[in-house]
Symmetry: C2
Subunit: 279 residues, 2 copies
């Protein structure tokens, strides 16, 4: 039985008769293929990536598992529609805290249409992408059974400036994300720090991006996740995943310097939260 | 006695009654301040940088020494004009091989005028900047007393594509740069490789750029230099310097992800030449 995901924080969403992703009970995330070249490009990426023997195993774990494409009833009631069958990244979580961070100071790429380039360039300049090398696309952070999640509206998140991003990254790992008070950053060391924390995972990805010239991950996101109950007992299940590959292009022998630069900027922000924990 | 430099490979040049840099016999490079904000910004950068105690000594050596500004007779005969008094980076070289590489897939920056942004964006897309994260602005490589330097015309260099950049980086460290034959890459290991070679220096700069949030080096160049006679005896005097600071802006607490991404791409190109030396 397919249903609308509870914990999606960005991207096209099903519901209200709209076309969007659906999940099933067995941990699968069914993402409708977009009708234009974005759909074919994302399917082509998953197909290429899943069979590419040059991808090291420790890097592969940062990508959702891919189970092919399948015709399924679309969420907008328009009938059968091809879907990518992916791993539902939060299926084993109870109250996932999730942040979607679109990486790159530039979300467009040379091969795109002039119209698309113009649209992206405007958005990159209006948001934090150009300044920071990344922007937050959406987030939710779990506080408690009573108060639920801190989940700022899309409109709020898209108007974040540099300091909003800095404080959101700290609020995201706080026990009191919904409070007006200064975020306490209680979970920063267990979620961001440590040998298997977010920072260590981002650094592992960075090392790969310094070397790989196979793909350019235009307009992709890093998804950062953890479970509050776990964080409280020191087992945060902090995870980084890469998602959204509708604009991936061939690397043509050049590293993805745009993604890498943005990733390094994110790494610096996360590091600073850890360094300043005593403040 | 001021004279026109022999080994400038890019940028405004004196001669033919034009305004450009001059050198003296004591190793000084006198760069006329541009009349607009570029001039004041470059002077402000040198002043700020030379007195900034947060710059580590091992990083400071990658920048030309700054001896203040001075009114000097301009090269275009227009009378006294303020000049930056800098270190002449090639004054102790006999036959310097020099490459000027403008770093960054984006040479513009948010604070610039719309007109300037448009002009830069066009140039970044036409050249290799957008694709590679850097472009070669000019170069010369010494071959011999008889044949002199390989010094492709500005027009030729500015039309380089990705493969031209790759082969120029190899030809630059070859004993036969002027030959039609495949460049031999004879000096690659001594110039690019080794514990004090170009690659090691670029990696040291990269580590600084991963951390520093003081300046954004928009439209700056990395100058790569060596001396052929030295390279033949294993003492290449390979040096990296950063130059051209007319568009440096305040980092505002964010790393220079645009410069860093391009620098990583250049590092990958140089590494690949070393890896493929056996081919």
């Amino acid at each position: 039985m397919l249903k609308i995901p509870d914990h999606q924080v960005a991207g096209h969403q099903a519901g209200d008769g709209k076309l969007g992703p659906l999940i099933d009970d067995s941990g699968r995330f069914c993402k409708p293929l977009q009708n234009d070249e974005r759909g074919s490009r994302e399917a082509a990426f998953y197909t290429s990536f899943s069979s590419n023997t040059k991808i090291p195993d420790q890097i592969r774990r940062y990508f959702p598992l891919f189970h092919g494409t399948q015709l399924l009833e679309a969420s907008d009631g328009s009938g059968l529609h091809p879907h990518l069958i992916l791993e539902d990244l939060v299926s084993t979580h109870v109250h996932p805290s999730v942040m979607d961070i679109k990486i790159g100071s530039r979300t467009w790429y040379p091969q795109a249409s002039e119209e698309y380039i113009k649209k992206c360039l405007k958005k990159d300049r209006e948001g934090t992408s150009l300044k920071l090398g990344f922007r937050i696309s959406g987030l939710q952070a779990y506080e408690s059974e009573e108060s639920g999640f801190w989940k700022p509206a899309k409109k709020v998140v898209s108007s974040y400036d540099v300091e909003d991003v800095r404080s959101s990254l700290k609020r995201f790992v706080s026990s009191n994300p919904l409070a007006d008070a200064k975020p306490d950053g209680s979970f920063a060391s267990v979620v961001y720090g440590g040998s298997d924390g977010i920072l260590a995972q981002l650094l592992e990805l960075k090392a790969w991006f310094e070397d790989q010239t196979i793909y350019h991950f235009n307009s992709c996101s890093v998804l950062v996740m953890y479970e509050k109950a776990g964080a409280e007992t020191g087992m945060s299940r902090a995870e980084v995943k890469l998602i959204d590959f509708a604009h991936v292009t061939d690397g043509e022998g050049v590293i993805d310097h745009n993604f890498l630069g943005g990733l390094c900027s994110l790494i610096k922000f996360v590091s600073e939260i850890l360094v300043n924990l005593g403040d």
